[in-house]
């Protein structure tokens, strides 16, 4: 039993190595790129990061210093913690906004991943009447700007008595057409039919097949979808701004309130900006590698 499987493994491992080697080569040569490439990349990343660092510089300063010298020194002053403390204790519910943002982002991203994987599994691997048409419909709706339905959506939320409540932000974010499309694409190639058939022969129910075969296979794409959904919900402003109001804000809404009430004290506003960005920056540093790997995996498979 083990004897024939050894060369098989060796063969596939060899093929994979060859593929990886050819993939890592740039434009048909395995030469590493010259310093110009690195210089251009370094400059672009500097451009991308410097506004964030500038915000941090202002947040570590105080308004008097900023007023005197519009071009700040590149070394931060020591006032960041003091400014951050003021923001947290300001009368704009910053702590509440932080909690709200965490709740909304966690609930919506878990739900988007779960429902997208369920639907993706169904579209990619199960046979049912109307599958093609329904999938086409999903793809078409990724191009529909849902933001434009805000007026009726607001009327519905008002009828339900959800205005000012988090549920008004959570429910419209529970599913995305992009998520379904993404998981369908991924599972189509990442999940072999043989595995599903084996599970069925072993007597597994559909839902059992989903949880023990499809869900683990979907992991790389699911991580990426989850992160995108998390970032999307964390940074969303328009809809929470309309339905939540100032008493029960999410972070972007709180930032807007901060600007409206402290617009003269720039270092406080920037401290709020930095504070609101820290959780996502940390998440990005922790999971960024997976995020980037997920984007690549999705594209290679899709």
């Amino acid at each position: 039993m083990s004897a024939p499987s050894v060369p098989y493994i060796r063969q596939t491992a060899g093929a994979r190595a060859a593929r990886a080697a050819s993939r890592s080569r740039g434009y048909g040569s395995d030469r590493r790129p010259g310093w110009v490439t690195y210089l251009l990349l370094a400059v672009s990343i500097l451009v991308f990061v410097s506004p964030i660092y500038y915000a941090f510089l202002l947040a570590s300063s105080d308004s008097a210093t900023i007023a005197q010298n519009p071009i700040p020194s590149l070394i931060p002053d020591g006032n960041f913690l003091a400014n951050a403390g003021k923001v947290l204790n300001a009368d704009i519910n910053f702590w509440k906004a932080l909690t709200n943002s965490v709740i909304v982002a966690v609930v919506t991203s878990v739900s988007v991943v779960l429902f997208s994987t369920l639907a993706g599994f169904s579209f990619a691997k199960l046979n049912f009447r109307g599958r093609r048409g329904l999938l086409l419909f999903v793809i078409a709706t990724t191009a529909v700007p849902t933001q434009l339905g805000i007026v009726p959506l607001f009327i519905v939320m008002a009828e339900l008595g959800w205005l000012g409540k988090l549920v008004a932000v959570i429910v419209p974010g529970l599913v995305t057409a992009f998520g379904v499309f993404w998981m369908t694409q991924y599972l189509e190639s990442a999940l072999p039919y043989e595995l599903i058939e084996a599970a069925r022969v072993d007597g597994a129910s559909m839902i059992r097949t989903f949880t023990s075969i499809a869900l683990p296979a979907a992991r790389p794409a699911a991580v990426m979808l989850g992160l995108f959904a998390f970032v999307g919900s964390w940074t969303n402003f328009f809809w929470p701004f309309i339905v939540l109001g100032s008493t029960n804000p999410t972070l972007p809404v709180a930032l807007q309130l901060l600007q409206a009430s402290y617009f003269k004290d720039l270092s406080l506003i920037m401290a709020g900006v930095v504070l609101s960005a820290i959780p996502l920056l940390v998440l990005f540093v922790v999971a960024g590698r997976q995020l980037v790997a997920g984007i690549m995996a999705g594209a290679v498979k899709g």
């Binding site: 672009s44 071009i71 980037v292």
Partner: protein
């Protein structure tokens, strides 16, 4: 109730099938029912939730737009196309439309051009790949509200960073908030800041999937890097290119966060120099007028515009990307079939 349905369904099917003389056990019936119903069960959460929160509101917008409907008063009389007629003769609507298109073009075009170049650079055999890839994505995790607060300060008319730096070179301060074009450029910069890296990674992902043999063949044929880029890379990543262009169009024409927070008041400047259509929708519905009917009318018009520009972009992208060698076209046709 579920069981009775099963039995009747399975019972109806059984006589049809001549190859099942055996009595079929309950678990087998259950399994058959499981296979039939599960797919629909799994896709239903998406369709129910998306229908309620995505499609229904969009359709309902058309209904609201032909009524006299107020934030506080609720549904009023049927007014036909009066709401549309009203907004079409409002100078602010046209201003918003002009601003939206101007900001959209100033952001999407440079953004995608830079993104495609960056993606090509990242597609090389770099050292510390993940570092570079993650680096370009950093701005994406900063909320648009935060981005606009940062850039609002950078582009402040007096004592802003941009003008101060220009001042050291002896350039006159630019009225980033006061004038039309500079304010559009400032807002477009915010959009570019946040989305260039995101689009770069999406395009890079597509480039990674291009078979390397194509490049090897091109090298043997003596094609330069530039030639390889235009004759292989661009045609090969066409589906992703279309995806990126369409999503940028949808996002760009709905822009709200960045211009809204470019100053404290949030009306797009005293002369509405940078007020976009979505800001106008907000103002009509939730601002002074509180007229849902008029807001819905503008939303519906914007939807049609986005649809039209999206289709135009689709057509354009297809044309640009199909400007390629016959071989590339053939291989692409294969891909589409797949």
């Amino acid at each position: 109730m579920a069981t009775s349905t099963t039995q009747s369904r399975a019972g109806r099917r059984l006589p049809d099938s001549p190859r099942t003389p055996r009595r079929v056990g309950f678990s087998q019936k259950l399994s058959r029912w499981d296979v039939k119903v599960s797919p629909y069960l799994y896709i239903s959460p998406f369709f129910i939730l998306f229908g309620l929160t995505g499609l229904f509101p969009l359709a309902y917008t058309a209904y609201v737009s032909v009524y006299d409907w107020h934030l506080l008063g609720g549904q009023g009389d049927f007014v036909g196309f009066e709401n549309f007629a009203f907004v079409f003769q409002e100078p602010n609507f046209w201003k918003g439309l002009r601003n939206t298109f101007s900001i959209f073009l100033l952001s999407t075009i440079p953004q995608l051009m830079v993104a495609i170049v960056l993606a090509a650079l990242l597609d090389a055999n770099l050292r510390a790949k993940t570092f570079w890839r993650m680096g370009v994505l950093v701005p994406y995790v900063i909320a648009p509200v935060a981005v606009s607060l940062i850039f609002g300060k950078i582009f402040a008319d007096q004592s802003g960073l941009a003008n101060s730096i220009l001042g050291t070179f002896g350039v006159e301060p630019i009225r980033w908030h006061g004038s039309v074009l500079p304010s559009h450029m400032a807002v477009a910069t915010m959009v570019n800041f946040r989305w260039t890296g995101y689009n770069t990674l999406i395009l890079l992902a597509a480039m990674q999937a291009v078979p390397r043999e194509l490049y090897e063949a091109a090298v043997i044929d003596g094609a330069t890097r530039l030639r390889q880029f235009f004759s292989i890379t661009i045609p090969q990543i066409r589906p992703t290119l279309i995806f990126v262009v369409i999503t940028s169009t949808i996002g760009g024409l709905q822009i709200f966060d960045e211009p809204r927070l470019f100053d404290q008041i949030g009306q797009g400047g005293p002369g509405r120099q940078w007020m976009t259509v979505t800001m106008y929708i907000y103002e009509l519905g939730f601002g002074n007028q509180k007229s849902f009917g008029r807001a819905a009318a503008v939303a519906w018009v914007l939807f049609l515009i986005i649809l039209a520009v999206g289709l135009l972009n689709f057509w354009l992208t297809q044309r640009i990307a199909s400007d390629a060698t016959p071989q590339a076209r053939k291989s692409r046709r294969k891909k589409v079939k797949r």
